[in-house]
């Protein structure tokens, strides 16, 4: 519990630095590219386009989901999924990638995963704008349900941060972890209901319920319930409780490992 407190204190104490470094990293990364930061948004749009062709037009024949056009339904989920997927993948390398500089200076290492998360937010806002636009064009009304967005945004950040601090530490300790995570996330795209509707699928109901325990599903489904005005947070008390339990478990283990081993990171470099 103490380590969770230490890590969180370091995040909030260095919030300004986290934002400055992430902004700088973004600019530095795309500096030599003609299209620059546009790639941050072009890349996912191409990806989403392909998924729409395959899963929306191809497999589903562009049928709607609960009366909402597939593209709007998918984009809402995909924007959250892409953010979580990219953040988790990149943050797992955040500490190993900066060992060259932290090996010669004192630095609050626990902020590095947050830097990655913050820099991914730029792409997220852009994707979310595209998604909301598609929702509005589809004729779905804006309701009070949309306010739930703020809650699910906090959920998304909390879960991503817990995973990020855990993954970044694990990658330093065991390099193989990064590949394990990558493989799991690749499968998660399909199992988390980001591109196809779990409830409307032909899967056995027990299996669907099992897949719905996934915290990523909770966030994706939550966004959909907010923007498509389809359900409220407290209608699913059990799912909410389970989500926060899983997030807390990962956070406690991640922070503990991080605080325990961070002094030795340089020895392991």
């Amino acid at each position: 519990m103490k380590s969770v407190w230490i890590v969180l204190k370091e995040q909030f104490g260095n919030l300004g630095m986290i934002f400055r470094i992430s902004r700088y990293d973004e600019h530095a990364e795309y500096q030599s590219h003609y299209l620059g930061l546009a790639w941050e948004i072009l890349n996912p749009i191409i990806q989403v386009g392909v998924y729409y062709l395959v899963f929306g037009m191809g497999l589903r024949g562009n049928r709607s989901v609960n009366g909402v056009p597939f593209i709007a339904w998918m984009l809402i989920g995909m924007s959250a999924w892409l953010f979580m997927n990219t953040s988790m993948n990149r943050s797992s390398k955040s500490i190993t990638g900066k060992l060259y500089v932290i090996s010669k200076m004192q630095f609050p290492v626990s902020t590095l995963p947050s830097v990655t998360i913050v820099s991914n937010l730029t792409a997220y806002w852009a994707m979310l704008a595209v998604a909301v636009f598609s929702v509005l064009v589809s004729g779905v009304p804006i309701t009070i349900y949309w306010l739930q967005f703020f809650y699910y945004f906090i959920c998304m950040i909390a879960f991503t941060f817990a995973m990020a601090i855990f993954s970044a530490t694990m990658t330093v300790l065991v390099r193989d972890y990064q590949f394990i995570l990558q493989s799991i996330l690749r499968v998660m795209l399909y199992l988390s209901g980001a591109i196809w509707n779990l409830t409307g699928s032909g899967l056995p109901p027990k299996l669907v319920k099992f897949l719905q325990l996934n915290p990523i599903y909770y966030v994706i489904n939550g966004y959909r319930s907010a923007f498509l005005s389809d359900g409220l947070i407290w209608e699913n008390k059990k799912a909410t409780l389970l989500f926060w339990l899983i997030t807390s478990i990962i956070l406690v283990i991640g922070c503990h490992l991080h605080v325990k081993f961070r002094a030795r990171f340089v020895d392991l470099a």
Binding site: Y24, L173, D230
Partner: protein, 357 residues
């Protein structure tokens, strides 16, 4: 000039496990009981007090533990045992250290300054002085990997001194610069000294040490061989190196091997016995405190009982809840009539509007 202690190191040791693979290393870190890995003690109980405004030179032949010690007092690597107090910000300069090869000189300045917590405005203020000080011309916009070792150390030094540290550790970084740059650095370091900042200067160039340092620490295979006034220690060190260099190759090897062997078989109990017989600490300590100083520092705290309890409780709760949710006959999402109906009405009212990209 005030006489506050800036660095107090007491019986610092550093053990390196000579594992062959990373996997062994991680396994040893995770397990409570240490396996029988070959050890190497880079430091065997170094004590030291440095005051503000003092310039301390660290000398010693290769492999004596100078760099290990400087990394420990910079807070970069943790000591295996012993106690370290540092009052102030430390900035360390080693040859080409902490610079990323793919980034340009300018980008490196920014990244290092950002990571030390400076705001963009502060960075904009120091960036020109850093460039002027480094004086590497148009190379500032080139990737650091194309730099010569001299240029790297110039840039490293320029960045470090502009971060306004209280304690500056210079680890052989000036040995690759030319005399003009060396003079410039010396000027800067004198300026620091007069401001009451502490400088730790690690070098093989005895003339530089003689010129600049008030006190000298002579390290010898992980031990403090001598600590005192510059002139005295340097005289002894010169005598030693003179004698050592006159030895035949075979004798040199035998001498080194013996010292290395001692570093391999060293234990913390030896340190305790040594200190008990004759204390090397500047201030006497009680027996209990000495025992604590000679005990291995724990690698972070183990998980507390409360945390364990909470963690296990949370895992059990999550498992129970998960099972319950899968077993319950009710579908997870309860169908809400009102808003869903709204959506459906709208969807049915405008069925002829196919979505197009």
């Amino acid at each position: 000039m005030d006489d506050t202690v800036k660095i107090r190191a007491r019986l610092i040791t550093k053990e390196y496990d000579m594992y062959k693979t990373r996997a062994d290393k991680v396994k040893a870190m995770l397990s409570v009981h240490k396996g029988k890995a070959p050890d190497f003690w880079a430091l065997k109980g170094v004590s030291l007090e440095v005051h503000s405004g003092e310039a301390l030179g660290i000398i010693g032949i290769n492999g004596s533990g100078k760099s290990t010690f400087s990394n420990i007092i910079s807070g970069i690597i943790p000591p295996t045992s012993g106690d370290l107090e540092i009052h102030g910000d430390v900035s360390i300069i080693a040859i080409g250290a902490g610079l990323k090869g793919e980034l340009t000189g300018l980008q490196n300045i920014r990244v290092k300054a950002l990571m030390s917590g400076m705001t963009n405005q502060e960075i904009d203020e120091i960036i020109q002085p850093v460039i002027d000080f480094a004086d590497i011309g148009a190379f500032i916009d080139q990737p650091v990997k194309s730099y010569s070792s001299g240029m790297r150390s110039r840039l490293g030094f320029a960045i470090a001194v502009h971060q306004h540290p209280d304690i500056l550790v210079v680890d052989e970084a000036l040995s690759v610069g030319d005399s003009t740059f060396y003079e410039k650095c010396m000027e800067k370091m004198d300026e620091f000294k007069s401001e009451g900042k502490t400088i730790i200067f690690i070098s093989h160039a005895l003339a530089q040490v003689e010129q600049f340092c008030d006190k000298v620490l002579w390290m010898h295979y992980g031990d403090v061989r001598e600590y005192g006034d510059t002139e005295e220690v340097l005289t002894h060190y010169r005598t030693f190196t003179g004698r050592f260099n006159n030895l035949s190759k075979k004798e040199k090897r035998a001498y080194q091997n013996e010292a290395k062997h001692k570093q391999a078989v060293f234990t913390l109990d030896d340190l305790y016995a040594r200190e008990k017989a004759e204390s090397s600490l500047p201030r006497p300590v009680s027996d209990a405190e000495l025992k604590q100083l000679c005990a291995r520092n724990s690698i972070g705290d183990p998980m507390s009982k409360t945390t364990w309890f909470f963690l296990i409780a949370m895992i059990l709760a999550a498992l129970a809840l998960g099972t319950e949710m899968v077993r319950s006959p009710k579908p997870l999402k309860s169908a809400l009539p009102a808003p869903t109906a709204v959506v459906q009405t709208i969807a049915t009212e405008t069925p002829s509007r196919p979505w197009k990209i």
